[in-house]
Symmetry: C2
Subunit: 305 residues, 2 copies
């Protein structure tokens, strides 16, 4: 491939462009909100205010990495690129998208001779410095065309073509499902400690100790230490845990395939509960206790709405 | 402390003795089965065939690290040591024991002026080379007396006194609860991948890629890679996952304290199920489907007993 563009300059896309620049690769960058472009131009990137400009500023064969939110924004961008790119160019779908969309897009792209790779990108805001971990899906020759750019984005050994179309996003979905349950595992463990007679323990210290030789050492546990260092009892946070789609897709896929995912699904469901102030099902349980046993219930505060 | 003994030369105790030797500390070692002693003597340890001999071969103040299975073997050893040691000596309870036993033993030891530390030891068979991770519980001055030995056993920064009596075993219990759910998280993720259209993926390769920059990188994932390297589809293993007590205690403690541990408890319960060929509850569910809907059931094989 002669040149690479990154379309979408959010936190992930912007950092990926900077990572490429640090590796001596000059990407073309585009963003819906053009206000972000001058800073990237100052950093050395070639900027494009429209997709047409993006395509014109690249030399064929082109690799265009889509890094917008999944769903509508990515679909619109995909259709736009499809109408502008030419045979032999590659569209790389780097959003946290559903793998079925990737399969559909790969098929649609192939009808016009444009190549397609789906790419799951992990590493968060640390990827700029440490390198990302990238799982791709698509035909091997297409992967190999894009490989130099993928390699530049990643840690040494931190990428893999996981199979045909959809495999990259499927692997990222599985990765995120595992991530949900791992986060829940640490959350539950520290919760138990916090509620125990030993709750005054230095949790940052314990996380640090556990990361030095214990079986549960991990990068997430390093991040937990950072969080405890900043706020030892996490008193400045509320325990609302958003979910971004990947966890839901993992559980949907497990249901479809008949695979038992009790820990991942319960972690997803606990996130749902964390997003609610109150829960209809819990209110029914409270009501039933009152009905059959005359047990006391907490009257709902009027201002809870 | 002048000298240390390790009582119990199982896989953990034996490796701990070897780790001390490698750090220039000559432990006295004792084991119920004396057949293991000559090899440790050859490695440089002082061996004792009886507890009396162990105590006589040490200089006061002594630190005796109990490294037998928890429950009866540790209790018997504890009572034996209590009758032989003297004021100012320290008994360190290194078994994977229930933290309530540690609290009880600390109290009993203190009645005779003998000090007591409970110590949770993590690191498995890798601890010999990499250093262990050790969580202790007990009075600070007692911890400090034993610290040089603990330090020699551990990775740099890999130990901590977690609080008063019981805190070390409580922290180890929490650690193992987290470990159960983390193992389940990886198990479920790879299970989903294995059942998917992308099930032919190189799982060792994926584990390796995930360990290079992804959010779910961890030591357990490195071990998963080792396992896949040896047996890519794990075809030479059965999926029976024993449990050793710590997971049960974590869930019991959560029930006592009213802390929700859905992922850890479900991981424990999935282990229970994995230990069964068949399950009475599942047979009842199958029976009920037949009763209300005339759904077919699998007749039980006679030889399943």
């Amino acid at each position: 491939m002669h040149s690479i563009a990154i379309a979408g300059m959010g936190r992930m896309g912007g950092n990926m462009a900077r990572r490429l620049l640090a590796k001596g690769i000059k990407p073309v960058v585009w963003n819906r909100d053009t206000a972000k472009l001058p800073r990237l131009e100052a950093a050395g990137a070639v900027t494009a205010k429209t997709l047409t400009e993006l395509v014109l500023k690249m030399k064929a064969p082109r690799a265009v990495w889509m890094m917008l939110p999944s769903g509508e924004p990515t679909e619109t961008l995909f259709l736009g690129l499809l109408s502008l790119l030419e045979k032999g160019d590659v569209i790389i779908d780097g959003a946290n998208g559903n793998w079925n969309d990737a399969v559909r897009r790969a098929k649609k792209a192939s009808e016009t001779g444009i190549d397609f790779l789906d790419a799951g990108v992990s590493g968060g805001i640390w990827g700029l410095e440490n390198g990302y971990c990238i799982m791709t899906g698509g035909p091997k020759p297409v992967f190999e065309k894009a490989e130099p750019f993928i390699k530049a984005l990643c840690q040494d050994g931190g990428y893999m073509n996981c199979g045909g179309p959809g495999a990259g996003h499927f692997a990222k979905m599985v990765h995120n499902g595992i991530e949900y349950a791992m986060m829940e595992a640490y959350g539950e463990g520290f919760d138990l400690l916090h509620a125990s007679p030993f709750g005054e323990i230095d949790m940052a210290g314990l996380a640090s100790v556990w990361n030095r030789g214990s079986v549960i050492r991990s990068w997430l546990l390093e991040l937990a230490q950072n969080a405890f260092d900043k706020d030892p009892k996490l008193e400045n946070l509320s325990g609302i845990v958003p979910d971004s789609g990947e966890g839901r897709w993992a559980v949907e896929e497990a249901v479809r395939l008949g695979v038992p995912l009790p820990a991942i699904s319960t972690s997803l469901f606990k996130r749902f509960r964390s997003q609610m102030k109150d829960n209809f099902g819990d209110r029914l349980s409270a009501a039933l206790r009152r009905e059959f046993g005359g047990h006391g219930v907490e009257e709902r505060m009027k201002d809870e709405g």
